[in-house]
Subunit: 108 residues, 2 copies
DNA sequence: CTAGTATTTGGCCATTTAGCCAAGTACGCA
DNA sequence: TGCGTACTTGGCTAAATGGCCAAATACTAG
């Protein structure tokens, strides 16, 4: 028995997690966490990919509600929209640490 | 300039997030959060898929260090290995709530 | 208006993912 | 030993993802 609400709740959460689940996007988030507001052109250097690729990563984050953007002149500035990411990553890190402690081979 | 350690750190985090980023796996985690220890056969009912599918979802979670398993007789019992998931999902929920507040269309 | 910069989007390809069925493995019981 | 149950793995297909290049859009400066 699964309600429609349940289904949507799980899909929504999954979508947000999926948006976070990529090394380049995590790197973008780290950058935005330290710099407050950054334009796409500066973010390309951070992950070292084509600007079109960066733009697509950013729109995934935006679509999930993790970042927001604002246009100034011909540049678009992105910034974090969510404040709790630090605690989220603390949790992720605790998984990592727990794995390290048990010498679990990651990235296999 | 990206160090090898940085790369690995981001990839490791991404792997854990990716393991979480699927509705069925989130449902499995919820179940394990309430029941402590559940066998694969009971988990098939939770997400309503083939047992082989469930088994693959579980091995992804295990590979990321989120769950662990123990065999008793012919049954394999899975349980959560991570305690902080509640705060992680609280963060995810705050993104959801923030999105709802601004009537952002999700799942588009 | 024209050229140039910043960004997004369309199109394409290679890779990964999710799902199912079927076959393989492991264990318990007769 | 041989059958049945629990689970995992191999093999396949359809769909999604990530990357690049090239074209489209938006804006500025001249």
């Amino acid at each position: 028995m699964e309600s429609r609400e349940d289904r949507i709740r799980y899909e929504t959460r999954a979508k947000i997690l999926k948006a976070l689940a990529h090394p380049s996007r995590l790197k973008l988030i780290d950058k935005l966490a330290e710099e407050e507001e950054v334009c796409v052109c500066d973010l390309t250097e951070v992950i070292g990919s084509d600007m079109s690729t960066v733009s697509r990563h950013l729109s995934q984050l935006k679509n999930a509600g993790i970042v927001e953007s604002e246009k100034h002149g011909q540049m678009v500035f992105y910034r974090l929209r969510v404040k709790c990411l630090k605690s989220l990553f603390r949790c992720i890190e605790s998984v990592v640490q727990c794995n390290v402690d048990e010498s679990l081979v990651m990235l296999s």
